[in-house]
């Protein structure tokens, strides 16, 4: 099927169903199995009454879906997606990108893939650790951002260092602390030697094969398709369905857009809402961490469900190998002192799936986040003027949280199930590796 033919067909479908979507008469999200949420649920672990709710890994099979429609068809509450002229979306690119996304062989020692940090059932982030852990356990300073609706970002990474998904894709692959592939060329050569990839690249990019651009385009196409709108909030606010949410959601939105002032950065438009402003702000968290304001003499460490001890930080320091680097946000990129501790506004869509929160994962729950903003952030000379003490009542805080929970897209289960249906790529005997006696071209 040619790309042109495909584009015409999808446009016709779009015209046919657009009115239905806008009137909220059809849904993108229906599936019989709920895949959303961590397979190893630790909800309530702070209590001695905690009971496990762990899922079988064997049952994590997912269900394949035709997710290209999420790119080609506008979802309620979301703006129209702009797709780069030089990387038109196709099923072949999405499928190839998805396979690459979950392929652990795309790391130096075959252990890390994009999907090991952006875990689908954990909101395409990682609920289990505050900051990302890369190859050989190397520490990263920042919390893994969700990839849901990443296509709408003007800037990528918490510090806005990148501007297109196609370019962004390479950074984790080559970063020493993430996947640590030694070079573009070695990555491409390895892909050429892994059985199956040459054919898939040729199908997705006829006449181009495996190269720097096609690799970036393929993974970017998959990431671009992870679009999730049409939430209960959207159905009420943009779709006009008064029964889509309860009164607490509506009251929570009042706080959000009024007394709370959240909407200043997590913007909501007349016809759509990304819940971010494509800008960077200083909330004081980066400042406080850099200046050691958050440090205590002892750290509360959990030993078992409901069981904690206060551990002297000298003990913790004795096993802290990580080199201390302060995270200065946008300044890291520009070296402009005015840019210290500026971090990108994240989307709030699907926020209830993407804990822990903030650029460094400092807050475990939405309650923690709301409390932080209610108290006016951490004071510093560059603090955003929009961050100020709110004096919210407990009821207002509760409703604000309920509102935030209404922002889960209705196709989220389908996106997750589709991701889980993709086999994880692991080293086989047929793959390039010295222990498999594969000639990588270096043998004399």
């Amino acid at each position: 099927m040619s790309e042109q033919f495909f584009r015409k067909q999808t446009f016709k479908i779009y015209l046919l169903i657009l009115p239905l979507v806008l009137s909220n008469q059809i849904s993108f999200g229906n599936d019989e199995v709920n895949y959303s949420g961590p397979g190893d649920d630790k909800n309530g672990y702070d209590s001695r009454d905690y009971t496990t709710n762990s899922l079988s890994l064997e049952d994590r099979k997912g269900k394949k879906a035709d997710i290209i429609k999420y790119v080609t068809i506008k979802q309620l509450g979301l703006p129209e997606l702009k797709i780069p002229q030089n990387n038109k979306i196709t099923r072949e690119k999405i499928e190839l990108g998805k396979k690459l996304f979950f392929d652990r062989r795309l790391s130096l020692n075959n252990t890390m893939s994009c999907g090991m940090c952006h875990v689908p059932e954990q909101g395409f982030t990682n609920n289990e650790i505050k900051t990302a852990v890369g190859i050989e356990g190397r520490s990263n300073l920042r919390n893994t951002p969700t990839l849901l609706n990443v296509a709408f970002n003007k800037f990528l990474f918490h510090d806005a260092r990148e501007f297109s998904l196609e370019n962004q894709v390479w950074q984790p692959v080559l970063a020493h602390s993430e996947m640590a592939m030694p070079s573009f060329g070695f990555t491409i050569k390895k892909l050429e030697l892994i059985p199956g990839y040459k054919k898939l690249f040729n199908e997705a990019f006829p006449g181009e094969g495996i190269n720097m651009e096609t690799f970036g385009k393929a993974v970017a196409s998959y990431e671009r398709s992870l679009i999730s709108g049409n939430s209960d909030f959207d159905k009420w606010y943009f779709g006009g369905n008064k029964n889509a949410v309860d009164e607490n959601v509506k009251k929570g939105f009042e706080v959000f857009s009024g007394k709370g002032g959240c909407v200043s950065c997590h913007t909501v438009g007349k016809n759509e809402a990304l819940f971010f402003d494509n800008k960077l702000h200083n909330t004081g968290i980066g400042y406080a961490e850099s200046m050691g304001i958050l440090k205590k003499i002892k750290t509360k460490v959990q030993l078992a469900p409901g069981e904690y001890v206060e551990v002297d930080n000298k003990i913790i320091k004795s096993v802290n190998q990580q080199k201390k680097n302060n995270d200065l946000g946008l300044y890291t990129i520009t070296e402009n002192p005015e840019h210290r501790w500026l971090f990108k506004t994240p989307t709030l869509r699907n926020i209830s799936l993407t804990a822990p929160y903030m650029h460094n994962g400092i807050f475990s729950t939405l309650d923690d986040v709301i409390k932080f903003y209610d108290e006016g952030g951490f004071k510093n000379e560059l603090l955003s003027p929009m961050i100020k003490k709110l004096d919210l009542t407990q009821e207002e805080k509760n409703n604000l949280k309920i509102f935030l929970k209404s922002l889960v897209g209705d196709n989220i289960n389908i996106l997750i199930a589709d991701a889980l249906s993709t086999p994880v790529g692991d080293l086989t005997k047929d793959d390039p590796n010295w222990a498999n006696d594969t000639d990588m071209g270096y043998d004399n």
């Binding site: 652990r104 750290t299 096993v319």
Partner: protein, 450 residues
């Protein structure tokens, strides 16, 4: 509650006879294996490569430990294996011809030939497709010999790098046989969830063949065991991801029968050797306790916390343990204070600490000889968990143990940093006596009669 004591039935008599002849090792290894009851000739140290040190990669280090040798207490062989695989544990095949050693990170399994020339092991085979073959198990940890088999416990999985995992069964040639998933709430696989937890986590394996029982314990997933230790202790989310269970399995059918709550990361398992001692010990890394896993009067396996190890608020972190051949003593190493502690376990329900000594700034593994007179200690816990700065000592030390006087006497130290080797982790014994039918120069030999 009392231990179930068994009369000597006909079946029991047969098993007892077998056990008295062949079931034993240097106190902590598979009962299906020949043991060295006299002087060991070599200690094989599975060693982690360190960035900036020597060739920076993992290696099997062979130390000559026979006092009669001219190269006594010297490194006599170094075999680099490529990469920093997070070298961790190793285990010998039932005939002790091969040493299987795993990489918790790379998931490679290195099979060394240690019998052709015990002084200079060679790399016989590398299993590279462990994760793919097992359907997603990550972190091959314990290599435990069963007849004609090696059972491998995993620590994690390739889906979320969390703690849910399984056991992988291989034959002695290194061919994959089957995956046995740990029971979860989603699929208990026929096991009874006795308490509140069925987390599906894994760590160690031990068996009591007389009781047709296999036990497994539970640690944590890749994200945690690969993470900087200090960072992890400050990460409230990460600290929720530790195992709180042990599983009782039917050894022969490989089916889980019961999940027992053992909160706080139960790690090493050591089973008693006595013919009527139907119990095993474990220690919990986080809650710092000794747990007894025992068969009660009704034939049910139970778990009970029976002693504290140091002060839990100081995170002593009990790591390796070693039971004496007569089931009367249990060594417990605590990583953070670098101490070896000796508990009297003559009453398994009431262990009493009798002795402690600081071995170094950090200590992890202990391997004692069958007669208990020699105790080897090593330092490294995990590549990113070891101490920093001057406290990051890396060595293997030999001590002589006098049980009557309760005294450890230092014999020698090999500094693994000075030798540009790396971080010293697990130690396994080798002896020429294992590979000859005759007793060799005073070395006592018991061969597995096949």
């Amino acid at each position: 509650m009392h231990l179930r004591k068994f009369g000597v039935s006909i079946l029991g008599a047969v098993l007892l006879t077998i056990s008295s002849v062949t079931v034993a090792d240097e106190t902590c290894m598979s009962p299906y294996m020949a043991k060295i009851v006299g002087q060991e000739d070599y200690v094989y140290v599975w060693t982690l490569g360190v960035e900036g040190l020597g060739d920076e990669q993992d290696k099997l280090v062979t130390i000559d430990v026979n006092p009669k040798s001219k190269t006594y207490a010297k490194v006599v062989s170094v075999l680099s294996v490529g990469g920093r695989n997070e070298a961790h544990h190793s285990g010998l095949s039932d005939d002790r011809h091969y040493l299987w050693a795993g990489g918790l990170d790379s998931n490679k399994i290195f099979i060394f030939d240690v019998h052709s020339n015990p002084r200079k092991p060679t790399l016989h085979k590398v299993i590279t497709d462990f994760v793919e073959k097992t359907g997603g198990i990550v972190g091959p940890h314990t290599f435990y010999a069963l007849p004609g088999r090696i059972m491998v416990s995993g620590l994690s999985n390739n889906k979320d790098n969390g703690g849910r995992t399984g056991l992988a069964e291989y034959n002695s040639k290194g061919e994959f046989i089957a995956t046995h998933w740990l029971p979860t709430d989603g699929d208990l696989r026929g096991a009874k969830k006795e308490g509140k937890f069925a987390d599906g986590y894994g760590y160690d394996i031990r068996v009591q063949p007389r009781r047709n029982v296999m036990l497994t314990s539970s640690f944590t997933g890749w994200s945690n065991y690969m993470m900087d230790f200090g960072q992890m202790l400050q990460d409230g989310e990460a600290m929720k991801r530790f195992g709180n269970t042990m599983v009782v399995w039917d050894l022969h059918t490989r089916k889980p029968k019961k999940v027992i709550d053992v909160p706080g990361a139960p790690l090493e398992i050591r089973c008693a050797w006595g013919a009527n001692n139907n119990y095993c010990f474990t220690t919990t890394a986080l809650t710092s306790k000794i747990w007894l896993i025992y068969e009660d009067d009704n034939g049910e396996w139970q778990g009970k916390a029976v002693a504290d190890i140091g002060d839990a608020s100081k995170v002593p972190l009990p790591v390796d343990i070693s039971i004496t051949a007569d089931d009367q003593g249990l060594w417990v190493d605590t990583f953070m204070d670098g101490k070896a502690r000796y508990f009297d376990i003559s009453d398994p329900f009431n262990p009493v600490q009798k002795f402690e000594e600081q071995i170094g700034s950090q200590v992890n593994m202990i391997s004692q000889s069958w007669d208990g007179k020699r105790a080897y200690f090593s330092t490294s816990l995990l590549g990113n968990w070891d101490k920093t700065g001057e406290a990051d000592e890396q060595w293997v030390k030999l001590y002589a143990w006098d049980e009557n006087e309760l005294a450890l006497t230092h014999k020698w130290t090999i500094d693994f940093y000075k030798e540009k080797l790396g971080r010293a982790h697990q130690m396994r014994f080798g002896a020429y006596s294992l590979y000859t039918s005759k007793q060799n120069k005073g070395k006592e030999v018991t061969m597995l009669d096949k």
